[in-house]
Each structure stands twice: as structure tokens, then as C-alpha cells.
């Protein structure tokens, strides 16, 4: 069994607290993505699980075992990092065989050959087996690194930003491959990234990490549509969710000089959250804004516009024609508007 559990993990580096009372459960066979910015503690959490870092307090459980006293090798988890850490002088085959020839693992030669063959087929690299690693492209190298992790057939994979160093096209195809690999192996994946697209596109569950604490755990849809607070709301989606301070009254959002309908009820000061795709440019709408910038992304345009002192981003159809500094009118989709507490940032629908 390969359930991962962290209970009350604390870890400091000098005066800096990297992890604060971190509780985390990754179920057996789950693809769990830990999403956070640089310094949020995601790599530290991964290293604590791998046994490369000792926590100051708290428990690490793998399956039913408390592995606090176990070495990294004893934990038998596979680690894939952003840097490939392959042996440049060995062939791909040599690199894949290497973990199987370790002194603490005794594999017969036919067993080694069979496992290397199987890993190579899974990753579609059989044609590269006899090539020197230094002659591979970045994507091929990362595939070999993953191959080196899977030959041992571990039940837990820990991956630290393995796609970050690759170009956009390759990242896209490896995302799909990793998901396929996960379902083929049936193993538990814990994947760490700062890239919200990777988190949204691959995860069964996303955990959003902020300053060493887990803020929310949920499916990609939970995180995107029902964020617990403004931090989570702005950590997924591109451009990030717009936040507009205003007042909620009689089913209307009272903003700087105009009102827009909302579904929420109540009577109070509110920070309204609206995703860029839920803002609508419409000559008859109540809101007025001045266009600051237009980005043509081909499939859509991203319009940055100023309303009073607030800059909003709207995703509009590619055929939309607007000019810089033009004054436009806009509304929004009332049923897609979130409301947050202006002081705490908490989602008012969930309080």
C-alpha cells in the first residue's frame, strides 16, 4: 500500500519556518499535485517524505508504517527532479540498469533486462536504449530520468518540477504522457509545481501551499470554482481572478459609480471575485472602463482595463476589436461571481 501521510510536520531552516504544522494525505493511487510559489515549502515537503530532510517534529507515514527512522533508500520511493542527474558517459540502457544493480537490491540479469525493456516501452524510448545520454534532447533525457525511477517499480513517485526546464511544446506532450503513465502504473504520484496549468491539467487532487501551510485541498474544479479564499482563487487561472472591492446590497454589487447584479444575498462590504472569462464587453452594460492594454493570444484576446484605480483583466473572443485608451462598457455573468471578506479574504459562500 502506498498511502502517504504527513502529520503535524514542522521544519525550520535557521530562523525561516519552511513547514508549519503541515498535515497532508495522499491516497493510494492518487495523482496529487502540490501547488505553491517559490519558498512555499513544497520542495521541503517532498524531501521530508523522501527521507532527504528530517522534520523538526511530526510524523511521516508510508502505507501503515511510520518511516521517521528510515533512511531514504529504505523508504523505496522514486524521485524525479527538474535536473536530470543522469550518468553522461553511460548509455540510456546503462542509466536504466543502474538502480537495479545497487548492492541492497538483488536482481538477476534476465530480470534486469526485462525491467529495462518494459520501462523503455512504457516511455517510448526503446530506440534510444543504446545511445549515450549526452546525445539526447531535453525531453528524451527527462524521459530517461523517469525511466530510471520506474524500473524499480516503486509504489510512490515524488516529482519536483520535472517539466520546468523543457520547452512549451514538450511540456504539453509530457503532461499527457505522465498522466498516462500514472494510470498504467497505478502508483501514487506526488507532483510538486509552481505552474497552475500543470496542476489543473494533471491532478486528481490539488493541494495549495502557502508559507508552509496547506490552504486548501480539492479537485481542480473545487479549487477553480470554489476557492476557500482569495489566495487560492488567484493561484489558479490565467490571468488570475479579478478582485474588486465594493458593497453588496439587495442582490447588487455596488462598485465605483455603478451597480452589477449578483446571485449572493446579504448587506455588507465585500471583495467581489470575477474570473477574466466571466467579464463581458457590452455597449449597453453599466460598467465603464478605459482599455490599458490588449494582448492577442490568437485563440482569445486578453484585455486589461482600468476602472477607477482598479485594473481588471477580461478574456474576450479573438474577433473583438478594441483600441488602447478606448472607453468601453462592461458587465459580468452574475451567477459566476464570488464574494470574499475584505479583511480576511475568506470565501463568504463557505463561511
Amino acid at each position: 500500500m502506498a498511502r502517504i501521510e504527513l502529520r503535524g510536520i514542522n521544519k525550520s531552516f535557521g530562523a525561516q519556518r519552511a513547514l508549519r504544522d503541515l498535515d497532508l494525505v495522499v491516497e493510494d493511487g492518487e495523482f496529487f499535485v502540490l501547488l505553491g510559489r517559490t519558498g512555499a515549502g513544497k520542495t521541503t515537503a517532498l524531501r521530508v517524505i523522501a527521507g532527504l530532510e528530517t522534520p523538526d517534529s511530526g510524523q511521516v507515514l508510508l502505507g501503515d508504517n511510520d518511516v521517521g527512522g528510515w533512511t531514504a533508500a529504505e523508504r523505496d520511493v522514486a524521485l524525479v527532479l527538474q535536473q536530470y542527474s543522469l550518468y553522461p558517459r553511460l548509455t540510456v540502457r546503462g542509466n536504466l540498469e543502474f538502480p537495479l544493480r545497487s548492492r541492497i537490491r538483488k536482481f538477476s540479469e534476465p530480470e534486469i533486462a526485462a525491467r529495462v525493456e518494459k520501462a523503455a516501452r512504457t516511455l517510448q524510448i526503446p530506440h534510444l536504449l543504446d545511445r549515450k545520454v549526452e546525445r539526447l534532447s531535453g525531453g528524451e533525457m527527462q524521459r530517461v530520468s523517469i525511466g530510471r525511477a520506474i524500473v524499480r517499480e516503486p509504489s510512490v513517485f515524488l516529482m519536483d518540477e520535472p517539466l520546468s526546464a523543457l520547452d512549451a511544446k514538450l511540456r504539453e506532450s509530457l503532461r499527457v504522457e505522465l498522466k498516462k503513465l500514472h494510470s498504467t502504473l497505478g502508483a501514487t504520484f506526488l507532483f510538486v509545481t509552481h505552474d497552475q496549468v500543470e496542476a489543473m491539467s494533471m491532478a486528481d487532487k490539488i493541494g495549495v501551499l502557502q508559507k508552509g501551510r496547506l490552504v486548501q485541498v480539492g479537485t481542480p474544479a473545487d479549487i477553480y470554482d470554489r476557492p476557500r479564499n482569495t489566495f487560492v482563487a488567484r493561484s489558479v487561472g490565467s490571468p488570475p481572478m479579478n478582485l474588486i472591492d465594493g458593497h453588496l446590497s439587495g442582490g447588487m454589487a455596488e462598485l465605483a459609480g455603478f451597480r452589477l447584479p449578483v446571485v449572493a444575498a446579504g448587506e455588507r462590504a465585500v471583495t467581489f471575485g470575477v474570473r477574466p472569462e466571466n467579464l463581458v464587453l457590452d455597449p449597453g452594460a453599466p460598467g465603464e472602463a478605459r482599455i490599458f492594454d490588449i494582448e492577442d493570444q490568437g485563440v482569445v484576446k486578453i484585455v486589461a482595463m482600468d476602472v477607477g484605480g482598479t485594473r481588471l483583466h477580461a478574456t474576450v473572443p479573438a474577433r473583438t476589436r478594441v483600441l488602447r485608451d478606448e472607453v468601453v462598457r462592461f458587465g459580468w455573468k452574475p451567477d459566476r461571481i464570488l464574494t470574499f471578506d475584505p479583511q480576511t479574504g475568506a470565501n463568504l459562500a463557505q463561511v
Binding site: D167, A168, K169, E172, R175, V176, K179, K180, S183, V197, M200, S201, M202, P220, A221, Y224, D225, V236, G237, P239, P240, R275, P276, E277, F292, D293, E295, D296, Q297, G298, V299, I302, A304, T315, R324
Partner: protein
């Protein structure tokens, strides 16, 4: 302000040819983005314009005057790099004023010029700080200020925001664009990031292996890619490319994807294609997905889904190909029955051997 002309530029580093007959005219006041992977020759081209690199042959003219023999300092061009290269012991004010001191401008004129450029960049309140006290974005603003202060004929930028985080990059893109509009300076900007290119450029120059692949507006490059390389370099997710065969006669034809699966199309869209395998290029937003049968749709199965919140990317199997579709939320990932079609107006075809676009002669 300047018009920059490159004529038949060749550049060798030893035996390696990094620029192959580059011809390009950048108009006065234009914002041109050179887009390509690392090693494609885009930075070498920029450095050749600046005079930081010699060319093996060919001419570079600025406002009609050939400059390929001139030193960088004599070309009156400013340069901004990814690394900020500010003087750490000088204040922001002194850093920006530095190029003006070098040309012997008076203190009063210098102060006026620095204040003006600082205002445009929104860094007036930092003028007395040292660079080490600034954030990455502000440091790059100072570097841009220093480049602009002496009103150069042209501003050349090499991945100037590549080292900044995503949020700041987005903000700086808009600022650089507005600054360009305000100053009307001829700008050449190098990047590997297609979103930067799409959002900043009047014209994009796509480079690959030392050759210009296409020169055009962002809309042209996105909607009428000249070849497979351009088609797959611009746009996210990447444009689908599949080997197809045109089957059937005049009128209704079928685009065969192998394994007996194909999509019916109006013959008018493919009448110009040769009767041999070609490559279809279709962007995810032009792949139509439906929950039920309909005209021009064929039944298939999903193989993967990427729920991105605002929309989903759904992969479907069609013959030997996997097509990615940009779809509204509502499809499931694995093995769901769906019906797929193509928006033929937005289908591109490329020669299988050369990768060049096969267009209807219009």
C-alpha cells in the same frame, strides 16, 4: 527614430553558419519581435544590428547609412539585456544619467532628461535608491530607462523580462508596449516566448536554424502560418498536426486519418491539395466536439482531459492521430463516446516533405 535594413546577412561561427541570408526591413517606429528557440540566430541578428557582433557578409543600414563597419558606440542604438547590468554603487538617478555624462551633457539637462524618463517608467520615487534595494521588475525598468534616456535611434531588447516571474512579466509586457507607443521608438525585441511575441509585436519574425521562417503581423502568423514550424511554434496548446489523405472525388470528400476513419469535408476546401499524403494542421479551437451525432461529425472516443477551469483541453483518437480540442467544460476524460469534426475554414495543410503551407491560390 530609424529604419533598419538587413541585406543578405551571413554569419559563421567557425564552420557553423548561424545566419543564412537574412533579409529584413524594420520600419521607422515599428516594434518587431524576433521569435525562436535558443540557438536559432535571433540574438546573433540583434547583436549584429547593435554592432556587438560582426557579420561575415551582407549589409546593415540604419536610415540608409551602412553601419556594418561601425563600432557599436557609433551606431546610436540602445540595448537592454536579460541581466540588468546596472552599476551597483550608483543610485538609480546616476545609473540612468550615466550615458548622458559620457556625451558631456550639462547637469541641468541631465536631470531634466532623467526625470522625464523616470516619470514615463513610474520609477521617480526610487531615483535616490541603490539598485540592490529594488525588485527585479524595478531594476529592469531602470535598465530600460538608462537605454532610453539619450533618445537612441532604436532600442534593442534581448529577453528583457525573461528572468522575471510570470505576474511581473505580464505587467511589464503592457508597460513596454505602452512605452513604445508613447516614444514611437523603433524597437527590436528578442524572445522565445510566443505569448510575448503575440502581445508586443507589430510584426513577428519567426526564426529557425538561422533562417527567417515567416515575417508577419501576429494575426498573420497565427492564422496563416507559412510552414509547419511556425504553425507549431505559435499558439497554445500546440496546433494539432496529423497525416491525412484526401479521399473521394469532386463535391464531398473525406479526409482520411488512417484505420478507415475520416472526416467528411466540402471539396472546395481541399481541391488544391495533391493526391498524396499531406499534413493537416488544425488548432484545438477549430476541432469541434459534440455529445451526439451531426453533419460532418464522426464518432470516436476521448483519451485524455485537461480541465483548465475556463475551458477544457480534450484529446480524442481519430485513426492514427490524436487531436486536442478546446472544449467547453462537460466532457469526460477517458474513453467517453464523442463526435468530432473540423472547422474546415480554419484547417491548414502542409506538404509532407517540405513542411510548406499548401494554400488555395486566391
Amino acid at each position: 527614430m530609424a529604419r533598419i535594413e538587413l541585406r543578405n546577412i551571413q554569419k559563421f561561427f567557425g564552420a557553423v553558419q548561424v545566419l543564412k541570408d537574412v533579409n529584413l526591413t524594420i520600419d521607422d517606429g515599428e516594434f518587431v519581435v524576433m521569435l525562436g528557440q535558443s540557438g536559432c540566430g535571433k540574438t546573433t541578428t540583434l547583436r549584429a544590428i547593435a554592432g556587438l557582433e560582426t557579420v561575415t557578409s551582407g549589409t546593415i543600414a540604419i536610415d540608409g547609412r551602412e553601419v556594418q563597419g561601425l563600432r557599436a558606440a557609433d551606431r546610436d542604438i540602445a540595448f537592454v539585456f536579460q541581466s540588468f547590468s546596472l552599476y551597483p554603487h550608483m543610485t538609480v538617478q546616476e545609473n540612468i544619467a550615466f550615458p548622458l555624462r559620457a556625451v558631456g551633457m550639462s547637469q541641468t539637462d541631465r536631470d531634466a532628461a532623467v526625470t522625464e524618463v523616470a516619470k514615463v517608467l513610474g520609477i521617480e520615487r526610487f531615483l535616490h535608491r541603490k539598485p540592490s534595494a529594488l525588485s527585479g521588475g524595478d531594476m529592469q525598468r531602470v535598465a530600460i530607462g538608462r537605454a532610453l534616456v539619450r533618445r537612441p535611434k532604436a532600442l534593442l531588447m534581448d529577453e528583457p523580462i525573461g528572468a522575471l516571474d510570470a505576474k511581473l512579466r505580464e505587467q511589464m509586457r503592457a508597460e513596454i508596449k505602452r512605452l513604445h507607443i508613447a516614444r514611437a521608438s523603433t524597437s527590436v525585441y528578442v524572445t522565445h516566448d510566443q505569448i510575448e511575441a503575440m502581445s508586443l509585436a507589430d510584426r513577428i519574425v519567426v526564426m529557425h536554424a538561422g533562417l527567417l521562417q515567416q515575417v508577419g503581423t501576429p494575426e498573420e502568423v497565427y492564422n496563416r502560418p507559412a510552414n509547419l514550424f511556425v504553425a507549431q511554434f505559435v499558439g497554445s496548446p500546440v496546433m494539432n498536426v496529423a497525416d491525412v489523405v484526401v479521399e473521394g472525388g469532386a463535391g464531398a470528400v473525406v479526409l482520411g486519418f488512417g484505420q478507415g476513419q475520416g472526416i467528411p469535408l466540402d471539396g472546395g476546401h481541399v481541391g488544391h491539395l495533391p493526391r498524396r499524403p499531406v499534413k493537416l494542421g488544425i488548432r484545438p479551437e477549430a476541432v469541434i466536439l459534440a455529445h451526439g451525432p451531426g453533419e460532418g461529425l464522426v464518432e470516436t472516443q476521448t483519451t485524455n482531459i485537461e480541465p483548465l477551469g475556463s475551458h477544457d483541453i480534450v484529446d480524442v483518437r481519430l485513426g492514427d492521430a490524436t487531436l486536442r480540442a478546446r472544449a467547453e467544460p462537460g466532457f469526460a476524460g477517458d474513453g467517453q463516446r464523442v463526435w468530432v469534426g473540423l472547422d474546415a475554414e480554419r484547417a491548414h495543410f502542409f506538404d509532407g516533405a517540405t513542411g510548406m503551407a499548401l494554400r488555395r491560390t486566391a
